[in-house]
């Protein structure tokens, strides 16, 4: 069963003093996210990622279209007991402590009293806030607030978690911890839908990604498929700093890094390169086909599409 089925969700805001000028934030979006996968929703700032998430959460109403979440109508409030949501740059009731905040959200999510106490303790420990659970949130740093935000999103043990820019405001260690947490959630059988503009995060975590730009879906697919396009070149790495003349003759582009040499050359020259290195008795370390990076795919998808080339597309809100 699909965890999320987005069926033509579209959003146009009316702007201007008289609210008569339409501004399209999201063109009709069709997207399916399968259960148990980590799905990355990629796009630059203002692409329409947050608008999409807000519509799925019922915070913004679509101009047209519909969606199904975990097999239910997305407008059914009870489905939200199975959903967790971390907004972008979350801000919470700063007069509460982390423990009180989670207890309050647990109450609103309908977690029974006994379970709630246990869940709050577990989740605080999971995001590393146990030591400061009694401190009011107004004294929290941005990174600590992000952790509290993640805690509230997974508190009620949801089947599906939406994270809007979850790495925002985190230091490298914090980002690593969030990555690990998302992988753990996947291992627990949960579906994770997260938006980001940091491609390395998406490449490291996601089973599939969708790319959105100026409110338009530009591409969707498995990360492996999107990055498996062989460019017809290989990278050859060998020990030492010596660059044989025979390698240069093959047209290799060589760079010395420390005590290794990296050379990029045409795929059909691979065997000749290996022979050349053997003749020189040089120790070969690796030969890797060069593949398109997610970044290259992303940049390619941000080029004007044929459908929209030459006409103005409303920017996302």
């Amino acid at each position: 069963m699909a965890a999320i089925e987005i069926l033509g969700l579209e959003k146009t805001y009316m702007v201007g003093f008289w609210r008569k000028r339409p501004k399209r934030a999201l063109q009709p979006l069709h997207l399916t996210v399968e259960e148990g996968e980590i799905f990355g929703f990629l796009g630059p700032n203002g692409a329409g990622k947050t608008t999409t998430l807000k519509m799925l959460m019922g915070l913004v109403f679509p101009t047209s279209g519909t969606a199904r979440i975990l097999g239910h109508e997305w407008t059914d409030p009870e489905i939200k007991t199975q959903i967790g949501f971390l907004p972008e740059q979350p801000y919470f009731y700063d007069y509460l402590t982390a423990h009180e905040l989670l207890d309050y959200y647990g109450q609103l999510s309908g977690v029974p009293g006994k379970d709630r106490k246990r869940r709050v303790e577990e989740v605080l420990q999971r995001v590393g806030l146990t030591d400061i659970q009694g401190v009011q949130l107004r004294k929290f740093s941005k990174g600590m607030l992000q952790r509290a935000g993640i805690a509230q999103a997974i508190l009620h043990n949801p089947k599906l978690v939406f994270f809007d820019e979850p790495m925002s405001g985190l230091d490298p260690l914090g980002r690593r911890e969030v990555r690990d947490l998302m992988e753990q959630l996947k291992q627990e059988g949960k579906t994770v839908f997260f938006s980001t503009h940091i491609l390395s995060d998406a490449e490291a975590l996601c089973d599939r990604v969708a790319i959105i730009y100026k409110g338009e879906l530009r591409g969707v697919g498995a990360v492996e498929d999107l990055t498996s396009t062989v460019q017809g070149k290989v990278e050859v790495v060998w020990q030492g700093t010596q660059i044989p003349a025979s390698m240069k003759a093959l047209g290799a582009d060589c760079h010395v890094t420390g005590d290794t040499v990296r050379a990029v050359l045409a795929e059909n020259q691979q065997d000749a390169a290996i022979d050349a290195l053997r003749r020189e008795r040089i120790r070969l370390i690796a030969i890797t086909p060069l593949r398109t990076s997610l970044e290259a795919y992303f940049v390619e998808k941000l080029q004007p599409s044929k459908a929209t080339a030459g006409k103005t597309v409303g920017t996302a809100v």
């Binding site: 805001y13 807000k54 959460m57 019922g58 915070l59 913004v60 109403f61 409030p77 009870e78 939200k80 007991t81 959903i83 949501f85 907004p87 740059q89 979350p90 801000y91 919470f92 009731y93 007069y95 509460l96 309050y104 959200y105 109450q107 609103l108 999510s109 309908g110 935000g149 509230q152 809100v317």
Partner: protein, 258 residues
């Protein structure tokens, strides 16, 4: 009441307490203590009248200011700070949020009024050295003041559901002032003619009739208050509050939280 409304109301009350809203009670206690001592020294035979008049007016004004200044931020502040996102992404209906916020603020004002009432009776005992039967009228006046707060809370919430805090404050305070002269407005409507009469009558019945809820002077002068008035004012205040809250819910249900 749904448990979610109760939890939202409790959290709203907790916010008011932690934001030191109830610190106004200290200012109120100091004002009343000072006034009681001062009145005791300068007035002869009318100490009770002055203390009751001053005390109840202060209760009303302190409460109205708190109701407006908390009420106008109840929804708009949650949208502005985005705290609402993590609430409405749970199985919380939008109407439950509005009603919960209302009960939270109303609860804050009831607690506030309770402590200020103790202050009024304390000052009264200081100047009169005893309580008498007409002092029960003060309880009726306090009850009407609480009804007044309910209406103002609901109006502040209504305005907060579609406009900025500043405009909401202007609207709510304007309605409080106009509503305090509602009886005069009705009198004017009776004297006017043509379109003016039509507009004045419509305005007189649309604005909340706070003048009917103001029995401070009657309580101070020990004039009896009929049970019919109590019933009428109770029904009126509950009806008006329900209407204003319904309006707030209707607007908020359709609002995009950008």
């Amino acid at each position: 009441m749904s448990p979610r409304i109760f939890h939202i109301a409790t959290n709203t009350f907790r916010e008011a307490v932690r934001d030191r809203v109830l610190y106004n009670l200290i200012a109120f206690a100091l004002l009343l203590s000072g006034a009681a001592i001062f009145v005791g020294q300068i007035s002869i035979d009318i100490e009770r009248l002055v203390v009751v008049d001053l005390g109840l007016t202060a209760v009303s004004l302190f409460g109205v200011v708190i109701a407006i200044f908390i009420g106008i931020g109840l929804v708009s502040k949650e949208i502005e700070k985005r705290t609402l996102y993590t609430v409405l992404s749970r199985p919380v209906r939008r109407w439950e949020f509005i009603v919960g916020k209302f009960f939270g603020l109303a609860g804050t004002l009831v607690v506030n009024t309770f402590f200020m009432a103790i202050g009024v009776f304390g000052a009264l005992f200081y100047v009169a050295h005893k309580f008498s039967k007409p002092d029960a009228l003060i309880l009726v006046a306090l009850y009407f003041i609480v009804l007044e707060f309910l209406i103002i809370c609901s109006l502040a919430l209504l305005f907060s559901s579609f406009s900025s805090p500043l405009l909401s404050a202007v609207f709510a305070f304007s309605l409080f002032v106009i509503g305090s002269f509602a009886e005069d407005l009705r009198g004017f409507a009776g004297l006017a003619h043509g379109v003016t009469r039509w507009f004045a009558t419509a305005a007189a019945y649309l604005v909340p009739n706070f003048s009917a809820l103001n029995v401070i002077s009657a309580a101070a002068h020990e004039q009896p208050l009929s049970s019919q008035l109590i019933l009428h004012n109770t029904l009126y205040a509950l009806f008006y509050t329900a209407m204003a809250l319904s309006g707030a819910v209707l607007i908020f249900e359709r609002r995009n939280l950008k």
